[in-house]
């Protein structure tokens, strides 16, 4: 019988549910449980947290997740790969090791570092794609630069005997590709297999998004038992052939429709899904239902990688102030529009310095800016937001909305307001030779 590796997705983002991961660890007959917890900007937020705490900067749910799954993973010989190290993989790995000890377990825990390339970038001063300007143009505003590492160092850590691998910034599919490279000994220029492993990783990385999450549309796309949705399991063979399923009896659904939606999620050109390890080719992938909640995926391919790593640069970019207020009953929309007119006039009258403002009626045109009228709404919520250079100016946006209670249209209620610092992300490319990933086993 052909040997296969079973990979479970234990999280699709930092704040994801924990109980489906426990269900997978206990009942999934897994070889690996993979937690993908770093969105594009999460690492910049973590870098900011680390600035205030040298031992911090890793995923806030790391401890809760590990306490929940470590006993079942140890009992079932399930190895763990996660990017919950965020801005501080070594501290995170040490924490995991300490938690395991408390639980009476003794796993080998390794950290992958080297994704922090801020020093390299400061010297190279590359162009930032979104700004069409060099890194140096941001001056002191830059707080982080992290390269998307590939599968290599994860496979290396597993090869060194790690039961648990904790990374910082790694490409999401690489968290799944790493175990496959390790298990099957795929060469790092076997583009077809690396491409297929990337298809598997891409399909699994968002966890519930392939088992019926982000999918339900009652009456058109019904999903059973969403409150108990199961996370996916990918069973991969040595040639990269893939079958995706979930734990029997868990909620959700997995079929050609859920898999096809996920295959194209956040993909631009399907023939060239650029990863640090490979330019994966999804363009000829086929999806076939192989049984209830069981899907066979074939036809993935790949071509030579670019030799460049994508880097996310985090930088401070001013503040956003916001306020909201509701109007209800006949004429609600007209009163909402009057409130927005007043707010725009107040910006001019009071000289609040805004770089950009946005006013909208939630329930009418807050998502579809050009939405045509569909009859009078029963209620609307006015939302007014502005970008400013300093926190004080941002705070005045919400104050102006709050003042509408007494100084605005009739019947305004339920004001909320807030201010947040903007941590923006821009992308750069660096030659892979300038990045030096490193594996550290912690004790």
């Amino acid at each position: 019988m052909t040997r296969t590796v079973r990979l479970g997705a234990g999280a699709g983002f930092s704040g994801d549910r924990i109980d489906p991961a426990v269900e997978l660890a206990e009942k999934g007959r897994l070889d690996y449980l993979v937690f993908e917890c770093l969105a594009e900007r999460t690492i910049a937020l973590a870098q900011q947290a680390r600035l205030g705490d040298i031992e911090g900067g890793f995923d806030p749910l790391l401890e809760a997740r590990m306490r929940a799954v470590l006993p079942a993973c140890a009992a079932g010989n399930v190895r763990i790969v996660t990017n919950m190290g965020a801005a501080n993989p070594v501290a995170a790995a040490s924490r995991v090791r300490a938690i395991a000890r408390e639980l009476g377990l003794n796993p080998v825990v390794a950290a992958v570092t080297g994704d922090d390339v801020l020093d390299v970038l400061r010297r190279a001063d590359p162009m930032l794609e979104e700004l069409a300007a060099p890194l140096s143009s941001l001056g002191d505003a830059v707080i982080s630069a992290n390269a998307y590492l590939g599968a290599g160092p994860i496979a290396e850590a597993l090869g060194a005997g790690a039961d648990i691998v904790v990374t910082g910034r790694a490409a999401d599919p690489a968290l799944f590709l790493g175990p496959l490279v390790h298990e099957f000994g795929w060469a790092m220029d076997d583009w077809t297999r690396l491409g297929r492993g990337t298809v598997a990783g891409h399909l699994l990385e968002c966890a519930a998004q392939i088992t019926g999450g982000y999918f339900a549309d009652p009456g058109r796309k019904d999903v059973p038992d969403l409150a108990r949705i199961g996370f996916p399991i990918g069973e991969v063979d040595a040639d990269g052939g893939l079958t995706i399923g979930k734990v029997a009896g868990s909620g959700g659904r997995i079929d050609a429709a859920t898999v096809t939606e996920q295959l194209l999620y956040e993909v631009h050109d399907p023939a060239a899904y650029l990863q640090p390890d490979v330019a994966a080719d999804f363009s000829a992938v086929t999806v076939r239902e192989a049984g209830p909640d069981l899907v066979r995926v074939e036809g993935g391919d790949g071509r030579a990688r670019s030799g460049l790593y994508k880097v996310s640069v985090g930088y401070r970019d001013g503040f956003i102030g916001e306020g909201q207020i509701s109007y209800a009953g006949t004429g609600a929309e007209a009163r909402g529009r009057l409130a927005l007119e007043i707010l725009r006039e107040r910006m001019a009258l009071t000289g609040i310095a805004c770089r950009e403002v946005r006013g909208e009626l939630i329930g009418v045109n807050s998502v579809f800016e050009g939405a045509a009228a569909r009859g009078e709404p029963a209620e609307v919520r006015v939302r007014f937001a502005a970008r400013t250079d300093d926190r004080e100016a941002a705070a005045r946006i919400g104050q102006e909305v709050e003042a509408l209670y007494l100084c605005g249209p009739a019947g305004g209620g339920g004001v909320t307001r807030g201010v947040r610092e903007v941590l923006a992300i821009a992308s750069a490319l660096v030659p892979e030779n300038d990045v030096a990933p490193r594996v550290t086993v912690v004790n």
């Binding site: 058109r220 939606e261 194209l264 399907p270 950009e356 579809f368 050009g370 923006a424």
Partner: protein, 101 residues
Amino acid sequence: MRLGEIAHARAGDKGNTSNLSVIAYDKADFARLEREVTAERVRAHFGAMVTGEVTRFALPQLGALNFVLKGALRGGVTRSLAQDAHGKCLSGVLLDMELPE
């Protein structure tokens, strides 16, 4: 007829770019999607919301189209003043596109 009667969709984001998949419920409808749901019509549907280029990729074996809308997210998730800064709701907006009978 509304596009959403014959197809489903999912929105994804990277920086200031949104991608919207459109997938036929029945593969027999794919030819119609390919004919009617062009990059130009998608651009026109969103109007001034999309400031950059719109590109379409076709995956006939999946009955799917993938649209890439540059400049659709008001600066992207970290900088946008929109409430749905990821543009996660845009798939629903696209499915309201009218198709000729």
